[in-house]
């Protein structure tokens, strides 16, 4: 797959934005600046961006509790997201949902989700809409959600209804604190998906190009009216299940090794500079630009208006 210089810069900018966003949250949560439960996406950036770089606003995605990366990749406003996580009434969801419920329907982002396995059935419904407009619907799930009955039902229904739904399983090898080998009975999510009667492939979830190329094939397949498809992405998460997780289930030195050997941003940089598609200074310039954006997002979030008791009953209904 050929990529223009602009496309490469955009892909890297998106991945770097996710990484910087999450690393800043990690720091600010440790400082007590942010309330609630936060699940960071750092390490998995190539998955969200490799999928979403193919999509437009009329294509849908639905995400998980680990949703910030999908939101950014699908075009949600980064400052609005940060404000939301900071609990501002000026946040993307007015401080009502926080980290686990960021959504922007106008961008085709149907929400992060606090319930493991809740997304896939909703993606089937969005697939009904997408079918009528020639678009696709993407259900992001993890190796935890792949074991929920809701996910099984959604996969079967998408096959039966021949919908343009792509089930993207980001296998970061831990469902919360439990290893994939314990919790997933099938040989792989791909084998399981294929058994439902859909096209199912694997890709390297730490390599943007692997994810991107595989998704091109699946999106074309779905748009041609062949029904749903599934992809399993082998990836890594760099932080705990939630912020504050002591991660005692990790092996000794595991995180250091992952950051050294399986960092999708490093993989991208090496690939594009070795192929002389971009220079190191191009990438450094994006890093600087992104760091400034995140700094601004945090500064604006800290200065943003706070919700009051009067907001509690707003938006329960449209009219009542």
């Amino acid at each position: 797959m050929q990529h223009s210089r602009e496309a490469l810069i955009q892909a890297y900018r998106q991945m770097k934005t996710i990484r910087a966003f999450e690393e800043r949250l990690h720091d600010d949560i440790a400082l007590g600046e942010i309330a609630g439960f936060t699940h960071l996406y750092a390490g998995q950036e190539a998955c969200a961006v490799g999928v979403c770089e193919h999509l437009g606003p009329a294509d849908y995605i639905i995400s998980t509790h680990r949703g910030h990366g999908h939101c950014i990749a699908k075009g949600c406003d980064v400052v609005g997201m940060m404000k939301e996580i900071y609990g501002s009434s000026d946040g993307l969801c007015k401080g009502k949902g926080g980290s686990m419920h960021i959504a922007d329907i106008n961008k085709g982002m149907l929400g992060a989700n606090g319930i493991v396995g809740a997304g896939a059935p909703i993606a089937v419904g969005a697939g009904i809409t997408a079918k009528s407009t020639g678009n696709v619907s993407i259900a992001f799930s993890g190796d935890g959600a792949c074991n929920q009955g809701t996910t099984f039902e959604a996969m079967n229904m998408a096959v039966v209804l021949k919908l343009p739904v792509i089930f993207v399983f980001e296998n970061n090898h831990y469902s919360e604190h439990t290893g994939e080998s314990y919790a997933v009975g099938a040989e792989s999510m791909t084998v399981r998906s294929a058994a439902f009667g859909m096209k199912a492939i694997k890709a390297n979830g730490i390599d943007f190009f692997s994810v991107y190329d595989a998704m091109r094939e699946l999106i074309d397949y779905c748009k041609a009216g062949n029904g749903p498809a599934s992809i399993e992405l082998d990836t890594e998460r760099f932080y705990g299940h939630f912020e504050g997780d002591p991660q005692r289930y990790r092996g000794k030195g595991e995180l250091d090794r992952l950051r050294e050997e399986r960092d999708c941003l490093k993989v991208f940089r090496t690939k594009v500079t070795e192929a002389k598609l971009l220079e190191g200074k191009d990438i450094d310039a994006i890093d600087t630009e992104v760091e400034a954006l995140i700094e601004r997002a945090v500064a604006e979030s800290k200065a943003a208006p706070r919700p009051t008791a009067a907001h509690v009953l707003e938006d329960v209904y449209i009219s009542y």
Partner: protein, 338 residues
């Protein structure tokens, strides 16, 4: 007597019951934690710290770590309990009841009735619930009204360390299905716990404070809030008869009636939203059975008719506060007929 945190009381009580009765088993997501990982089993011992050490002691046949599959967890616990085990199932957050509602509502709750009284399903479903963590709409709810409304289920809401031991022991030994609701904000609360065997029968409220002016009924985290309010009201000469109901099904109607008939005023404090709620249920009961005793309209301090919001300011505004309880008690005291 030993002083313990509620989370440790839960683990120790399960431990005692598993040691006493081989048929007691546990199932849930990450109740062992670290299965299939380099860190190994019991890397976390349950995300709430309520099951540490149990897997090492009782093994994988009795402490069963499961995939994230709430319907299968409850279904499996139900099936095991229907066939001779006493299963303790953990749903990591009570909000996830949505995923496994059929197994609870149509299966567990109805087996005995549908089967003509010829079966028993001694399951305990433990569910951490409630606000206080800014955990947003899908991880903060109080779901006791929903399960209290289901015939066939017993519903327990302990608020002290001692009660946690007595009620959980009773729940595990009870032959009926029990929903055991643990308020997340109370896990770290410490209190004296009786040594040895200790059971508290269901359907008996705990008298928290005594007074002759206003009856306050509360459950869960609201009991502590009401206790604070009662202390403040006492300084103003208002005596509160505060009852911690402890179980919502069965309900200690006798204690409620005895108190209301004495005070003539009722204030109900409930963390959940106000419609078709435990508060309205109690209100209807008292209005019907103790109408003649009432000197003032029944007051209710509840969450609003909204999901539990995320932001700190919003969650604080959502949850009933001691100040709101004081204000409602004063309102009941100031009421004059006609």
């Amino acid at each position: 007597m030993a002083k313990k945190m509620i989370r440790d009381v839960i683990r120790d009580t399960i431990d005692e019951e598993m040691a006493r009765d081989d048929s007691v088993i546990m199932l849930g997501e990450d109740i062992v934690g670290g299965m299939g990982s380099a860190g190994g089993p019991e890397a976390i011992g349950g995300i709430w710290g309520t099951s540490g050490g149990l897997w090492a002691k009782y093994g994988s046949d009795r402490v069963i770590d499961t995939p994230i599959s709430e319907s299968a967890i409850i279904g499996a616990a139900a099936g095991a309990s229907l066939t001779g085990k006493r299963a303790i199932a953990e749903i990591m957050f009570a909000d996830f009841i949505g995923v496994c509602m059929d197994q609870i509502w149509n299966q567990v709750a109805k087996f005995r009735y549908m089967f003509g009284g010829k079966s028993k399903c001694p399951i305990v479903i433990r569910m951490p619930y409630g606000a206080g963590y800014n955990a947003a709409p899908q991880h903060s709810q109080s779901i006791h009204a929903m399960v209290t409304a289901m015939p066939g289920l017993k519903v327990v809401m302990p608020t002290t360390a001692a009660d946690t031991k007595g009620l959980l022991t009773q729940a595990i030994r009870d032959d009926d299905p029990v929903i055991f609701l643990e308020h997340k904000a109370l896990y770290g609360l410490k209190g004296e716990v009786p040594d040895g065997e200790y059971l508290i029968p269901f359907g008996h409220a705990r008298q928290v404070t005594q007074g002759d002016d206003v009856t306050i009924l509360a459950t869960g985290m609201m009991v502590g809030f009401a206790e604070k309010a009662a202390a403040q009201l006492a300084q103003d000469g208002i005596g509160c008869d505060l009852l911690d109901l402890r179980t919502t099904s069965p309900l200690d109607e006798e204690a409620i009636m005895d108190s209301v008939e004495r005070t003539g005023r009722l204030l109900i404090v409930d963390e959940a939203p106000p419609r078709c709620s435990f508060a309205t249920d109690l209100s209807a009961l008292v209005a019907n059975k103790a109408f003649a005793s009432l000197k003032a309209p029944i007051e209710m301090v509840t969450g609003p008719h909204s999901p539990v919001p995320f932001a700190r300011e919003l969650e604080s505004a959502y949850v009933p506060s001691p100040d709101k309880i004081v204000a409602a008690a004063v309102k009941a005291m100031s009421y004059r007929r006609g």
